[in-house]
Symmetry: C2
Subunit: 221 residues, 2 copies
DNA sequence: CCGTTGCTCTAAAGAATCTTGGAAAATTAC
DNA sequence: GTAATTTTCCAAGATTCTTTAGAGCAACGG
């Protein structure tokens, strides 16, 4: 805090929170992972590919801005987002980036491939078809994230296990795959694998955070 | 861009947009001013207290991230926000900061004084009472901002002119003052002046951007 | 009590960003 | 065409952020 002028202090404080949440790619990714549910430090480091000490440092920045909270659970420290609006803020920024920055659009295409070919299903449509039946919802996230919360009625087959568990899936039913969110590459990859093997697979537009934000039914355990 | 890994590039791009929008107090303030309407560079520098060259540089950062656009109008260059969601992003971050960071709450109180004493009126309530009549809506922003858009039926008395124009205002009618937004100190100050002089003044919760975002009636000119 | 595991803290180098004054550029106005 | 106005570019110094390695600390199991 350089100034003592109250207006300056106020805006510096806003910037501190904004910068903590969105100022660094590593922290954005951590918030994305935390949007799936509570996680330990080592787990986050592994999932994001960051060094452990760096992960800890970035989490401390997030905690210092009041965006995440931590608690000790036995030997490990577990973090979670402090407020659902934090997830909303990150989602909004990502969508804005995709819509306004051509570079972001290109990067997204590079990372996730051509989504349109996978015929994304809107959340509204999926919610309707869940009631009607005749559709299999496939959660391709790791088991721990599925356990922390998933779309009601979904079946969990982590992407890493998909090739060996193809036999468990029906060939004649429409399959809708989802994962961590709009910019998560797991469900598109799963859908591509399934299609190649002759399954009728599509992807959900958005992942669990968006589904939950809209008040659609989420199951735990 | 350090990495070439597509995931890294994608997150770096997100961070570039997020950092541009919320990473620096000066840019947050500029976005706040731009939320009121199109503005020239010198005007923005004057209103924010930044040096002209710095203002230009920060606007360039915002433009580079696709958050604002510019056009030349006669001899000056005028900037505006490129997407209404940009304003929403900033608003969300500010609210989050106030709710989650004690330091922000303290800074806001320092800057704006005790708001509760001014009996804030919700936007919903004001919209209802506008139909019923019997309330004077007072826009205390500078004339240029009023002209660019204001609450339908509002009267413009810029804060700087208020002391000399007290006579124009009715003493027996409820007055509701508003300005640039939730963290703008002009309307609270106006309400305090009015109350001291015996007027029945309150403040609106939020300013024009919030009013507009909710689809409430805005007039121009 | 001791070792192990899991995380945090410290320190420091290196990178990026902010800010400013003054020069340069782009347009308009005359 | 020339002058005037407005904005951007540039270079430099100060500041802040990021990242890493390694020491330190708390909890648990034996």
């Amino acid at each position: 805090m350089k100034g003592t002028d109250p207006k300056t202090v106020l805006y510096e404080t806003f910037a501190r929170v904004g910068k903590a949440a969105l100022g660094n790619p590593a922290r954005i990714e951590l918030l994305n992972l935390l949007a799936q549910g509570e996680r330990g430090v080592e787990e986050l480091a592994g999932a994001s590919g960051l060094k452990l000490s760096n992960t800890s440092a970035q989490l401390k920045v997030l905690a210092g801005a009041g965006l995440v909270t931590s608690r000790r659970a036995g030997t490990s420290v577990r973090y979670r987002v402090a407020d659902p609006r934090v997830t909303g803020l990150v989602e909004l920024a990502k969508r804005l980036a995709i819509d306004r920055a051509p570079r972001a659009r290109d990067a997204a295409r590079d990372w996730m491939g051509d989504m349109d070919a996978l015929e994304p299903v809107t959340r509204e449509e999926l919610a309707r078809r869940l009631d009607e039946g005749g559709v299999l919802v496939l959660d391709v996230r790791p088991g721990a994230e599925f356990a922390a919360g998933h779309i009601e009625g979904a079946v969990n087959v982590p992407l890493s296990d998909l090739p060996e568990r193809l036999g468990d899936l029906p060939r004649d039913t429409q399959i809708v795959a989802y994962c961590r969110g709009q910019f998560c590459a797991m469900s598109p990859e799963a859908a591509r694998i399934l299609r190649q093997e002759g399954y009728r697979a599509r992807v959900l537009d958005g992942g669990l955070p968006e589904w939950r934000d809209e008040g659609l039914p989420v199951a735990v355990g």
